[in-house]
Each structure stands twice: as C-alpha cells, then as structure tokens.
C-alpha cells in the first residue's frame, strides 16, 4: 500500500519527567450545542411507515413518516434511510428533517430526486402511503438551531430542507 519508509528508531524508556508546562488551549470552532445521549447510547434502526407523500415541486417530495421509536429531533438534524434489495444489496443515504420538532413519532423528510440517485429515485417513483421504510436517527449536532439565539437562514435547492425545520420551529414557538 505504501512506499517503504525509514522508521524512526524505537523510543527509549525514559524516567518520568516533571509536570509539563502549561500548554496553550486547543482551538475550537464553537460550543457544543447538542451532545449525544450520555454513555454513547446508540440510535437503532427502526421500521417507519409512510403516512403521507406530498409533491412539492417536480423534483422535491415530502415523505411524512410514523417512527415508532420516537426520538425527538433538533432543527437541522438528519435521518438515515436504508433500502434493501431481495438479493441482499443495500443502499443508505442521509436526509434532513423538514418538520418542526415534536415527539419524534411523526417526522417529514423532504427529498430531491436526483437523476442518477438510486435511493432518491426509488423514494420518488415507488414509495406509497402505507409502505414501510428502514430509518435511523436523528443525527447531527452542528448544523442545528435550538431556537435560543437569532439565526439568519440562507440556502438553496434541497439545502432549504433543514432551514424549513428551523422556520417551522420558530413559527410553532411563536
């Protein structure tokens, strides 16, 4: 895999040295706005049911899903969607949540149909009310807005989806 490389000599066992001088603080991009559940709790796959399909534009559709596990989301978070073929082949993609936060049992994913998109094309062309879909999430703890501080939303195309969740959250909160 790699070119041969002259390794540095193995390190000698040295006696413990006095305390290190104070190190400069490591940089940070910003405060942690949303930490995962304590103990690294895992979000499991769950079987959601399609309760509504709304055609927004020729290329964009909203899929309203009932998720029995009901993990509430923060605006800006996304879900994973997994499709499985009878021969064992599977494909997963991440899609932003468009709906305002609730109890997590009813969420809306808005998906753009890509011409060569194996998952988005299937969702647009095949998925009907009553169908079941494997989903996992919500995930993401950076591009999120909890509603506590002012925000300016700028986006285009399918990039408006997480912004819609923020806008709806703002409206719902009055």
């Amino acid at each position: 895999m790699t070119e041969p490389l002259d390794r540095p000599p193995p390190l000698l066992e040295l006696p413990e040295l006095p305390e290190l001088p104070e190190l400069p603080e490591l940089p940070a991009l910003g405060p942690v706005t949303r930490r995962p559940p304590a103990g690294g709790a895992r979000r499991e796959w769950q079987l959601a049911t399609v309760v509504a399909v709304r055609r927004e534009t020729p290329r964009m559709s909203t899929f309203r899903l009932h998720c029995p596990a009901g993990h509430p989301h923060v605006p800006g978070q996304h879900m994973m969607v997994r499709l499985r073929a009878p021969d064992g082949y599977s494909a997963s993609r991440s899609y932003s949540i468009a709906s305002a936060p609730g109890d997590g049992r009813e969420i809306e994913l808005m998906v753009e149909r890509l011409d060569d998109g194996e998952v988005s094309a299937y969702l647009h062309d095949e998925l009907r009310v009553g169908d079941q879909l494997e989903v996992r999430g919500p995930f993401g703890g950076w591009f999120v807005w909890s509603g506590r501080e002012p925000a300016l939303l700028v986006g285009g195309g399918s990039g408006v989806v997480p912004l819609m969740s923020m806008l709806r959250h703002h409206r719902a909160a009055g």
């Binding site: 066992e13 490591l26 940089p27 949303r34 995962p36 009878p86 194996e118 095949e126």
Partner: protein, 202 residues
C-alpha cells in the same frame, strides 16, 4: 405497496471488495464537506506543531516540513456520509517521522489533531503510528487544493475521513482520550469504516 428496491443496473452484482459496508464508489469525484469556513492559509506563515506528552515539543515551518523524508499513500478513503474514493494517492510525510522527531513519552495513549480553522479530532496513538497516518500536501500528483485541506491535511485512511483533519496545524499527544469536534456531537469516537462505526455507540 411499492415495488421492491432492486440493485440498480449501474451497480455491478459483484461488489468491489475495497468498499466497506454501506459505502458507495464515488468514482473520480471528491466531494467537499466542511463544518467551517475554508481558511486561506499562506505557506509563508503556515506551521505544524507537535506538543503535549513529548520530550521536545517542536514547530515546523512549511520549508522545514518539505525537507522531511517523504512517503506516499496509495489506496482508498471512506467518508462517513457513505462515499468512498478508491485507488487514490497522497504524498507527504509519515506521522511516525514527526513523532520520532519529538520523542513521545511512554505514558502517551492518544493524540488530538487540530486545525488552523479550529477543528479538532481525537485518535488513539496506535492509529497514527506504524505507517498508518501522514501529513500530506499532494493529491494524485498535484498540490492539495484548499477545499481539500491545503496546504496540508492529516491523512488517516483506515478510519472515516473526518479523522483526516483538513488544514492541520498540529498534534497534541495526551495520556487520555479527548473527543474532538464531531466526536462530541454524536459521531463515533474511533470511526472504523469496516465496523461501520459512524455514530456514537455503533
């Protein structure tokens, strides 16, 4: 009821054995995903520092970095967002070379890689030693573009690519694990693509 999902005709029945589970081959494209604003770094003022649990903390300038023995990685990279780029190459200096120059103390167990942008990511020492990690400034024979972390980024190709910090500014050697930017925001602490360690608890 929907028709069952089928393997698209464009996807070969024989899955490329280089693809970890849940990944797809992005071909020759190299997607760009960043949490922060792309910093414009001049190689005139660029530095790379190794400090923490080392005998002799050290800062390299760009010119000094280029004088170090170079090595090349040929292989595959895997992003947690499910794309993989197969059969690519990078060139730079092995992290073994950089750590060898500062003499890591025996108590060291982990490193935090940090970027000039403010990004951080944590790695066990064992994942950046033994010819597994590099600081690279060339991709497929060309200077590493700024959107991919130029002038230089960390390369840890056996883990998901968020561990390969763009615009890397240094490594801090520690005697404990210190979760970085994504690791404190729901992503897995280690990120092995072959174990699908995408999210916390996977």
């Amino acid at each position: 009821m929907a028709n069952p999902f089928r393997r698209p005709g464009s996807r070969p029945a024989q899955r490329d054995p280089r693809l970890p589970p849940g990944q797809y081959d992005t071909g020759s494209s190299f997607p760009v995903l960043t949490a922060e604003v792309t910093p414009r770094l001049s190689t005139n003022s660029w530095t790379f520092r190794v400090d923490g649990l080392v005998e002799a903390p050290r800062t390299w300038t760009w010119a000094e970095l280029l004088e170090l023995p170079r090595s090349r990685f040929d292989g595959d990279i895997h992003c947690v967002t499910t794309w993989s780029r197969l059969g690519t190459s990078f060139r730079g200096v092995s992290v073994d070379e950089l750590l060898g120059a500062v003499s890591v103390r025996p108590a060291a167990t982990h490193v935090v890689a940090w970027s000039h942008s403010g990004y951080t990511t944590n790695l066990p020492l064992a994942d950046v030693t033994g010819g597994k990690a590099w600081v690279v400034w060339e991709h497929e024979g060309k200077p590493l573009p700024v959107e991919h972390g130029g002038p230089a980024r960390l390369l840890v190709p056996h883990l998901y690519f968020w561990k390969s910090a763009k615009w890397v500014g240094g490594l801090r050697v520690l005697d404990h694990d210190e979760p970085g930017f994504w690791e404190t925001r729901g992503y897995h602490d280690r990120g092995d693509p072959w174990l699908e360690q995408r999210y916390s608890g996977d």
